[in-house]
């Protein structure tokens, strides 16, 4: 694979099936297949920023766990710089661990409460032997300054810090290994707007100055629009739309993206009319398009065909037979092999 523009991550028809068991009566249990991800294709190129949005339970965290190699796909391939992720991350000091850093939503829970901030940030520096022992304090101080924390925070413990400060410590620790990819699951949700704005500016700045690639799960479309060039919208385990964030949000092609867009709070507007119906159970997916039960544009053919992600406009892809923008990208109309669509590129 060539170096130029080669994707950092590539997901090829990734499927992740969890097996769950549930009691159906006294002493009776049944085993069910739960497809958390289904036919997911995604390429994440160097120095891009990608927002993952979608309904609760749509598979965003599962997708990220696959990228981190914490879950192995049940089917399909998940590649990091052209190699299977599970292979790339073998070995404690594999470059993968240095290259890909994660910020969790529960930053406080992800940090050992008995370690000082200095020790927490020094840990990855020592682990990857990034500098001589005596240079570590200076490096920690530089990282703290980078995330806008005063130097004396180094001596503090997580319990003594505010929520916003703890998030900054988690970001400093993630940056300590000098990663090229930062993956964040709801990293700014639940924070004050002013703290959130400070952290978003910090991440935007890191992306610009360090060439970081960002993968950002969020349910705030304003955050996605501000921080991420590209967006992927998930619904029930499937990526239903991809494209440049503001293009997708301003003129969605997939009816579910349109529903998301309408539901985003806007000053003094009435609260959006909810989608009719319930999100179907992932263990019992309906035939045809998985959004059909709630879709205002549904037609008879939607129940017959499960539409794959196909090109609707240059740079825009949607999994819909009757998209709102552009032309339908299903294989039936275009004749191109949409499931392995080569230009589903981010």
């Amino acid at each position: 694979m060539s170096e130029e523009g080669a994707p950092i991550f590539e997901l090829l028809d990734v499927e992740k099936i969890f097996t769950i068991t549930r009691a159906t009566g006294p002493l009776k249990r049944e085993t069910l297949r739960l497809p958390a991800l289904d036919g997911v294709r995604l390429r994440i190129k160097q120095n891009t920023s990608l927002a993952l949005v979608g309904e609760s339970g749509s598979g965003k965290s599962t997708l990220v766990r696959i990228l981190l190699g914490l879950n192995e796909p049940s089917n399909g391939q998940a590649l990091f710089r052209g190699r299977p992720i599970v292979e790339a991350r073998k070995g404690l000091r594999a470059p993968f661990h240095r290259d890909v850093a994660m910020i969790y939503q529960d930053a406080r829970g992800s940090l050992n409460p008995r370690m000082s901030v200095e020790a927490l940030i020094a840990e990855p520096i020592r682990h990857f032997r990034l500098c001589a022992e005596k240079e570590i304090p200076a490096r920690v101080a530089a990282l703290l300054a980078r995330v806008g924390l005063p130097a004396d925070v180094a001596k503090a413990y997580p319990a003594g810090l505010s929520g916003g400060q703890v998030r900054r410590v988690a970001i400093a620790r993630a940056l300590a290994s000098e990663p090229s990819v930062l993956v964040a699951d709801e990293a700014v949700s639940g924070l004050d707007v002013s703290t959130q704005a400070q952290l978003l500016n910090l991440l935007a700045d890191l992306k610009r100055t360090m060439g970081l690639t960002l993968v950002f799960i969020t349910h705030d479309l304003g955050v996605a629009s501000y921080l991420c060039q590209e967006i992927a919208v998930l619904y029930l385990g499937r990526i239903v739309e991809t494209g440049p964030t503001n293009d997708v949000l301003n003129a969605p092609a997939h009816p579910y993206s349109a529903a998301l867009r309408r539901a985003a709070p806007a000053f003094f507007e009435p609260i959006a009319e909810p989608l009719p119906g319930e999100i179907p159970s992932p263990v019992n997916l309906p035939p045809g398009c998985r959004f059909a039960g709630r879709c205002p544009r549904r037609q008879d053919d939607c129940l017959a065909l499960d539409p794959p992600l196909g090109r609707v406009l240059p740079g825009r892809h949607a999994a819909c037979i009757h998209p709102l923008t552009g032309s339908p990208g299903g294989p039936a109309e275009r004749g191109d092999a949409a499931p392995s669509n080569p230009d589903a590129v981010l």
Binding site: Q165, T195, S225, A266
Partner: protein, 322 residues
């Protein structure tokens, strides 16, 4: 509009820390009010204090909270509270998953709440539970009674909590960030559900929200808190479309809408309680601060159709402000 609840000069200490400083606001009868402000502003503290969930050992309270037909909540005896909590006053917590007991079925939890609050028989409570779940839009409600909380999605868990909170037909409902863990489509659905139910019962509701746009969509009144002080309060449309208080203006400038290209948040954060200015608590970060601000607390006074506590408000000529 008459007030259902009138909070007057509420000051609350935890030990030596003055968590709430002279907070006053009215909740209109049949109306909705949003408490907004940064983390640690005291929004949840107001809610738990008004629900009578703080013991004297935890916090000392001064001031009054007059509930129509009941009197001052802060002078109620524990016995009186058991008649009021869950019936006249009810609460929806931020994290429904944590508020529901994982060891009991959803139905069991609703039935026991109904029996406790309304004194219903087991059979009547079961029938009412099914009705309640149906009213909050849970399909196949009778079958769901046997489900454990983890078998429901986050949005469904929150709907169960709403059903429980509404089961006693409360006059006043507190909803503490009821949707912050949910995606925007479910958020819209849950907010509409709460508002529809509250209106149908003629109840009032206090929301704790961090999203100003959502507050503008759902509430009649807004109270902006900073570090336990009321900065600005009044009609949502007036206050949010044209803030007078520098802190409200700052909060509004940090709201991200689709297409927002630039954000200029203030640096720094809320001071710790040991370093709190004696006057206006926002003085350490305020772009409009005057020399007097840190030492002298501005009173909450009417200005341009809302109440503002500020010596140097936004959009007011200097001479007039002073």
């Amino acid at each position: 509009m008459t007030a259902l609840l009138s909070v007057q000069n509420l000051t609350l200490h935890r030990g030596s820390r003055r968590i709430l400083d002279d907070v006053s606001f009215d909740v209109p009868k049949g109306g909705t009010l949003a408490l907004v402000g940064e983390s640690g502003a005291g929004k949840s503290t107001i809610a738990v204090a008004l629900m009578g969930l703080l013991t004297r050992a935890e916090a000392s309270v001064e001031g009054k909270a007059i509930l129509e037909d009941t009197g001052d909540l802060f002078t109620l005896r524990p016995r009186a509270w058991t008649r009021i909590r869950g019936r006249r006053l009810a609460m929806i917590f931020q994290d429904a998953g944590a508020a529901l007991d994982p060891c009991y079925t959803v139905g069991g939890q609703i039935v026991s709440t109904l029996r406790r609050n309304l004194g219903l028989s087991r059979k009547a409570a079961r029938a009412r539970a099914v009705e309640l779940l149906e009213s909050v839009g849970i399909p196949d409600a009778a079958a769901r009674l046997g489900a454990y909380p983890h078998e429901l999605s986050g949005g469904m868990q929150q709907r169960v909590m709403i059903a429980i909170a509404l089961s006693g037909n409360p006059a006043l409902l507190f909803a503490d960030e009821p949707t912050s863990a949910l995606d925007v489509t479910i958020q819209a659905q849950i907010m509409r559900l709460i508002l529809d139910e509250v209106r149908a019962h003629g109840s009032s509701c206090i929301f704790v929200l961090h999203d100003l746009a959502l507050a503008s969509q759902s509430c009649d009144e807004v109270v902006v808190l900073y570090a336990g002080q009321v900065m600005e309060a009044g009609d949502a449309k007036t206050l949010l479309s044209d803030p007078r208080h520098p802190y409200t203006a700052l909060l509004k400038s940090c709201v991200l809408e689709i297409g927002t290209a630039e954000l200029t948040p203030p640096e720094g954060s809320v001071p710790s309680y040991d370093a709190m200015p004696a006057g206006c608590r926002f003085a350490t970060r305020c772009p409009n601060a005057l020399p007097r601000c840190a030492g002298e607390k501005p009173p909450l006074v009417p200005r341009d159709g809302r109440n503002v506590a500020c010596w140097n408000p936004v959009g007011v000529p200097k001479a007039e402000a002073a």
